[in-house]
């Protein structure tokens, strides 16, 4: 089984490589995008992005980030095919005004938002606060980070779970 797992993963990688050489913008949906060619944002450093990220490896998150000049960002995220463990309802989109945080000395930026009062059957009080944190190194368009679920009204303390997000968004 280990050999099979190794083979299937490596075949996937090879397929991706071949695809890259043939057509740089094509990706295989069944393979993670980490190995694939990534569209680059180019010199324009806007803060409006959209697209689909992988969520917890097998699921997906439709993400929209709509930034303004003052670094406020309208965030919308909808998660699919992820076991949310009663920490939020994947059928409900998460919407909030977040921020774009800049780390110029580290060639980094972070898109953040919190979603409070999320119904969460797994939490003692029945509510969770979700915190989105997506890191990007300009000029590349790859984002990685997570959606962290905290039981209660504030995103602090020990989280109930960190849901992993990664992939490439396209500038709007």
């Amino acid at each position: 089984m280990r050999a099979l797992a190794s083979l299937t993963r490596s075949v996937c990688g090879s397929a991706l490589r071949a695809t890259m050489l043939a057509a740089l913008t094509v990706a295989l949906a069944s393979c993670d995008d980490a190995a694939g060619p990534l569209p680059r944002a180019g010199a324009g450093e806007g803060s409006a992005w959209e697209g689909e990220l992988s969520a917890e490896l097998r699921g997906f998150a439709d993400v929209s980030l709509d930034g303004s000049a003052d670094d406020a960002v309208a965030v919308r995220i909808e998660v699919r095919d992820v076991a949310t463990d009663g920490l939020f309802d994947a059928a409900q989109p998460l919407v909030a005004i977040g921020r774009r945080e800049r780390f110029p000395e580290a060639q980094s930026e972070l898109y953040v938002a919190t979603f409070a009062g999320v119904p969460a059957s797994a939490c003692p009080g029945g509510q969770a606060t979700l915190a989105l944190a997506l890191h990007r190194r300009p000029p590349d368009a790859r984002f990685a980070g997570g959606l962290t679920a905290y039981c209660g009204a504030e995103p602090k303390g020990t989280p109930a779970r960190v849901f992993r997000l990664s992939g490439t968004l396209v500038p709007r």
Binding site: R40, A133, R137, G146, K156, T158, P159, V162
Partner: protein, 614 residues
């Protein structure tokens, strides 16, 4: 007897070397030869170190196999549960059957929290063995993190979490230290002493890589003000006493009771009663041959009075337990493994370094502003050490583990920025930028943005190996003999390896100069005190010497991969075999042409306790 080599999973191909030594046969031979007839002054010890790691698959197995399979796509909690029930509990049960046997059980503090939350009965069994002195419960870090690669403060917070977990759950914290991936190094002596530990078990192969695998060793050494022993058997003969010591197990503890299957192999990772029985028979044989199945702590306590003067440990560099097969710590800092296409070591480790910087800045600002942000900050430190888990960048990380590291570090950054914003509102009502000096603990108005430093010609001839990527090299004069160097590697569609070599000087004045993990100042070591051809260093503050009056410092939030040094050359090489396809990689270093104190201060100001403008 000899210790296990690490065993193999899909991520650790080097580890599957079957333990071929027939312990029972050797014990029988010893008994037959009379060696087993112990005199009162003979001390024969059989020791162990079962290294458990509840983050063996950090984030769980979901997505590990390309084809979804509910039976194998285990969540993080399910993997943790299996480790505790299938591999850990059977070991406790085995030793509960033999009250005269001792064992060392190493784990991160987080594992106690997991047991307390979901496996209280197993925690009770552990407590019973520990309180009886049968089990020495060894723990040096809360998370199985790559602590040698980060500033000491990150480990300090981690160790505090571990100590708190042990106290909360009523488990005596052992005085012996062994660490994730066998991390060990000279900076641990002072750190261990300050935290109340007594003995470091230093991996035999990390020692052998530096000084020769066959070099004779003593049964115990001085290591600063504490003790050190190597995880290799040896013997000693005194005027009336003798010591014979060996290790019956130094390996991943998960393998003992499962017939060498590790948690990645979920379909076979179950308790194997025959494997446990086989081990029990081996230990019974050792016992019959006169060996005391003991803890490291018991061993040290017994033999210390016999040794009139313990020798000082030889010079040691920091690294991991199988340097021959992982190319030292490089496997976690630029080296690639089985799932090479997914790896992005520099992304993972530089984001961890950035999160450290922002968190110490947030803590400083919160204190200056008088904020009650302890809840947020403590949570962030916990997430930081979890995210620094070794498996996010080595040995063979799969994508889920890589993203575990990135997700945790990103959340730390978010929390730190939230706290900084709140502090800013208190300290700068008009929004004026603040200068946060994390070393001095002060926050002052930042004033106008400093002028950009002048760009200058390269001060050293770098050996840059970009593969088929475009590369740009730029230097800026920061003043006082310090320079910023930027190397921007453009995207490649088919190559992962990029490297740069900084020219250095060996020979006279060309000692190794670097700051070991958990140390706070550089050490200077003669290269001819070692036997290695080359060695890989993590550089916890980014600093390494290039010879007299020249140093290079990684800007760890931009480049955090291993430095390769050689015994016969002063050159320092940085190589990343995991640079992502299709993406830029921009590395930033500082070069200091000055003295060691200046370079050390620059490294601390850049990577450990920075001053940031926010």
């Amino acid at each position: 007897m000899r210790s296990h080599e690490r065993s193999v999973g899909p991520r650790t191909e080097h580890r599957r070397r079957r333990f071929t030594t027939a312990i029972a046969a050797i014990a029988a031979a010893l008994a037959a030869s009379g060696a087993g007839k112990a005199r009162a002054e003979d001390h024969k010890f059989a020791l162990s170190m079962l290294h458990f790691n509840v983050q063996y698959v950090a984030g769980g197995l979901n997505g590990f196999f390309i084809t979804p399979n509910p039976e194998l796509d285990l969540s993080a909690a399910q993997v943790e549960d299996n480790i505790i029930r299938q591999s850990f509990e059977p070991v406790l049960d085995l030793f509960a059957k033999h009250p005269t046997w001792g064992i060392d059980l190493e784990m991160q503090g987080y594992m106690l929290d997991v047991m307390a939350e979901r496996h209280g009965d197993v925690l009770d069994k552990l407590r019973a063995l520990a309180e009886a002195g049968q089990a020495e419960v060894v723990s040096f870090h809360y998370s199985d993190q790559l602590f040698l690669a980060y500033p000491r403060e990150d480990w300090v917070r981690s160790q505090a979490l571990t100590a708190a977990a042990f106290a909360k759950h009523g488990i005596p914290l052992g005085k012996t230290v062994f660490c994730q991936e066998g991390q060990a190094g000279p900076g641990m002596a002072a750190a261990m002493e300050e935290a109340g530990y007594q003995t470091l078990l230093f991996p035999k192969n990390l020692f052998g890589y530096q000084h020769g695998h066959e070099t004779p060793i003593e049964p115990l050494y001085r290591f600063g003000n504490i003790d050190l022993l190597f995880s290799r058997g040896t013997s000693w003969q005194g005027p009336s006493d003798s010591i014979e010591v060996d290790f019956w197990f130094v390996d991943d503890g998960e393998l003992l009771a499962t017939g060498d299957f590790d948690p990645y192999i979920a379909e076979f990772f179950f308790e194997d009663e025959a494997a446990v029985a086989e081990k029990e028979a081996e230990l019974l044989g050792l016992e019959a041959a006169g060996y005391r199945i003991a803890t490291v702590g018991e061993y040290v306590q017994t033999i210390r009075p016999l040794l009139e003067a313990r020798p000082q440990a030889p010079p040691l560099l920091d690294g991991t337990w199988q340097p021959d097969t992982t190319d030292g710590i490089a496997r976690w800092l630029g080296g690639s493994g089985i799932w090479a296409d997914d790896e992005r070591d520099n992304d993972v480790r530089s984001l961890g370094a950035l999160a450290h910087r922002e968190l110490v800045a947030a803590e400083t600002a919160a204190a200056a502003a008088g904020l009650d942000a302890r809840g947020e900050l403590d949570g962030a430190w916990r997430l930081l050490v979890l995210g620094q888990v070794t498996d996010a960048s080595g040995i063979n990380p799969f994508r889920g583990e890589i993203e575990y590291g990135l997700a945790h570090a990103s959340e730390v950054l978010r929390i730190a920025r939230e706290v900084l914003l709140r502090a800013h509102a208190v300290l700068s009502a008009d929004g004026t930028p603040l200068s946060i000096d994390t070393a001095a603990g002060t926050v002052t108005p930042a004033g106008p943005s400093p002028a950009a430093p002048p760009e200058v010609e390269p001060q050293l001839a770098l050996g840059i190996e970009p593969g088929n990527r475009d590369v740009e090299e730029r230097w800026w004069d920061l003043g006082g003999g310090a320079y910023r160097v930027m190397l921007r590697f453009g995207p490649s569609i088919d190559e992962r390896s990029i490297a740069v070599t900084f020219p250095g000087q060996a020979g006279e004045g060309g000692d190794l100069v670097y700051t070991p993990g958990l140390a706070e100042a550089p050490v200077q070591l003669a290269r001819d005190g070692f036997l290695f051809d080359h060695f890989q260093l993590a550089l916890s503050d980014g600093l390494i010497g290039l010879g007299p009056g020249a140093f290079v410092i990684k800007d760890m939030a931009r480049v955090h991969i291993a430095a390769t040094v050689r015994r016969d050359s002063g050159d320092v090489r940085f190589q990343d075999d995991t640079a992502p396809y299709g993406q830029d990689s921009t590395w930033v270093f500082q070069v200091v042409l000055g003295d060691q104190a200046q370079a050390a201060a620059a490294a601390r100001a850049l990577n450990v306790l920075p001053t940031v403008r926010r």
